[in-house]
Chain length 217, copies 2
DNA sequence: TAACATACATACTGGTTGGTATGTTGGCCA
DNA sequence: TGGCCAACATACCAACCAGTATGTATGTTA
């Protein structure tokens, strides 16, 4: 009489259930890693949050490390792509406006600010300790930087971005500012710090506009 | 016949030995926290590195948390003061030159870059989890920001810094840049990233100089 | 020199960790 | 309808964790 706590599955195929279990594990792991870091996130806690058992976890993932890597690939990477890569690739807006829009889209709700940036959190903790994490996270950072550099180069060819700006350098600096302010705001546990940071970053972005191409302010 | 592994102490007073033990614990803890984070740093490992026993540890500190707090107060805080607060207070250099000097003094040896910034590491990990850490680290960040803002204000009164610069904002932005680049370099595990970041920060600092007060380049 | 406090050293504990070994169940196919 | 396998569920384990209880060598004081 083991393994029958829940009502038996009715019509849904087993395969669909399996994918759902995997997804719940990824979401729970992502949340717990966000809360307390990868190393300190307990598998038992993740399982409790996900509402699945250890057997299910180790059916889908070989180890805690593999689960963490999957979180990077399947949760964090799509998130960065959705917020920083795709919006900049659309090519509809003026490049500087597009970057300002992305910066102003950074969440500033208390819960988000206090938790910091998921990408940066994991990178800080795991990059020196685990090459698997490091490589996956580096791919995300590279894509981010390249997306920013790309719009800056485009802006230069269209004359809206200053020619003396080095796109790769400026992209790195933007990301450093974003992550740096996220760190300061997380440490202060105060959304005001992040809001002030966004204002300063936006001010710096405006300074990249080519003279005679200023739209407003 | 317990507790006589080592030669009996000869002439040194007990009090001196005690202080030395405490200091070794702080240094070992600082190193291990730097390597793997506070939560993942094992007390047994710290003790092995320090070459002392658990009895000694719990004679000097009430708990692992108290040891961590002491590392912040007695290792990290003096380090930041020595590198960022005192050099800026001396008032001998031109303010912008002083800031450039501090930025260029950031260590870029592989070991330093790969480990990241001790202050930022701990803040990222512990600020959301432990108010004792958060308050101590916030004091350090505040002192750092205030030291930078102070020289900028001084530069404005002496005419060497642009008047439209908001010292508090610029100080926060500088710190965000420094910590942001430290994060990126740590993730990339590559000193080149930090060196490029320092160049970009220095370039930004030069842009704060008042017109007609440019010293070189 | 006897009593005492300081500064440890050692052994141990209960709880937690990631991981494993072994069941069990329901759908599916021959 | 009997066998098979994906997809779990449960119980368990050795290692490790922070912390504690207790012992003891040594300098200081009365």
């Amino acid at each position: 009489m083991l393994a029958t706590r829940k009502n038996p599955k009715r019509r849904a195929t087993r395969l669909r259930d399996s994918e759902r279990t995997r997804e719940r594990l990824l979401q729970a792991a992502s949340r717990e890693i966000y809360r307390s870091g990868f190393q300190s996130a307990s598998l038992d806690t993740i399982l409790a949050v996900a509402g699945v058992t250890k057997g299910a976890l180790y059916y889908h993932f070989d180890s805690k490390e593999a689960l963490g890597h999957a979180v990077v690939d399947e949760v964090i990477a799509p998130d960065v792509r959705g917020k920083w890569v795709r919006p900049l690739q659309s090519g509809k807006d003026d490049p500087i406006d597009a970057l300002i829009g992305a910066v102003q889209g950074i969440p500033v709700r208390p819960a988000d600010v206090r938790g910091g940036c998921q990408l940066n959190n994991l990178a800080q903790e795991m990059s020196p300790l685990d090459a698997g994490f490091r490589k996956r996270l580096a791919i995300i950072f590279d894509a981010w930087r390249e997306a920013v550099a790309f719009v800056l180069r485009e802006g230069q060819t269209h004359g809206s971005v200053r020619r003396d700006v080095e796109p790769a350098d400026a992209a790195g600096l933007l990301i450093a500012m974003v992550e740096g302010y996220a760190s300061l705001a997380k440490n202060a546990q105060d959304p005001k710090v992040m809001k002030a940071g966004i204002r300063n970053i936006v001010g710096w972005l405006r300074s990249l506009r080519a003279p005679g191409n200023r739209k407003r302010g």
